[in-house]
Amino acid sequence: MSSALAQTLIVMPAYNEEAVVASVVAEVFEKLPGVAVLVVNDGSRDETVLRARSAGAIVLDLPFNLGVGGAMRTGFKYAQQHGYRYVVQVDSDGQHDPSGVPSILAALETVDVAIGARFAGEGDYEVKGPRRWAMVVLASVIGRIARTPLTDTTSGFRGAGPRAIAIFAQHYPAEYLGDTVESLVLAARAGCTITQVPVSMRPRAGGTPSHNPAKAAVYLGRAALALVIALWRPPLALSIEAPTA
């Protein structure tokens, strides 16, 4: 496992996270010795860059906000250019527990994309109401496309192996929900194998998830649109075996 950690890049998209980013980076280093941490500052106007750098992370500073998808593609490009074998995305707000990373890495030995799933038994993370239904529908549809049972496709806690990195470095979507839903469809249709591993998730440090039914309906609508469009697009080819720097 330690050898896998040495080949792993933890990518954290960060947007105005000066309050927590340093402690999250420190926790990753503490729980995952030998790993490299890349914080992609997504156009924050606060001290995110300074705090992340002083915590020992490599920092990429995007000149303006691109959204999680844009930040992640930058991370995948970095991983590709520097020859990292695995990329694991971890939220910079502390919602993802770094102790879930080893099980994601273990899964990546056999599959291309591993999702740290919130409803797979571990932890007490809960979403209720229409938003929950939307997530269930998405999971079953994408699970069918990926030919594997999935329960949580909107989780941002996920890892990618060499073949997936090669695709994501070029094509990681930047649209709304593109970084979660569409990226999975993209990978699955290109021939990547996907699996999920149970991880525990902490409640968000700040803010409460919305339970507004109108917002949930809009969410479901946009998710369905993203899904339909993603399925309609011509599939990408698994071009090259991951080029290593």
């Binding site: 992609v40 490599i58 920092v59 990429l60 500073d61 995007l62 000149p63 303006f64 691109l66 844009g70 593609r73 930058t74 490009k77 970095y78 250019q81 930047a174």
Partner: protein, 126 residues
Amino acid sequence: MSVTTYVFGIVSAILVLVIVFEMLRRRRVRERHALWWIFAGVLALVVAVFPGILTGTATALGITAPTNLGFFLSTIILFLVSVQSSAELTVLEEKTRTLAENVALHDERLARLEASTQAPIRDVDA
């Protein structure tokens, strides 16, 4: 149709063409973006000079009021132009996104290079 209406139609169409060509001349708009506007302007001019074309086509298509054909065609052209603009916007967004990503990657690389040479590489003019 009175002479005033006839002249008004022609003048309006010419005005459209003059504006588009002036924009082109000043490089305020690129030729491929102006193409639909030129097409619309020329069409409007032809119809303004020979209103019989519009009435004739409307009758042939079974449209009772020829002006409706005029409105229909203008809507179609406006629709095509705005769809084209949306498409161009998408292309531009993707390009800026790629540039932003590369800027961030280069910044980091440069910072590491400077750190390894111990001395910051300064701008000549700075």
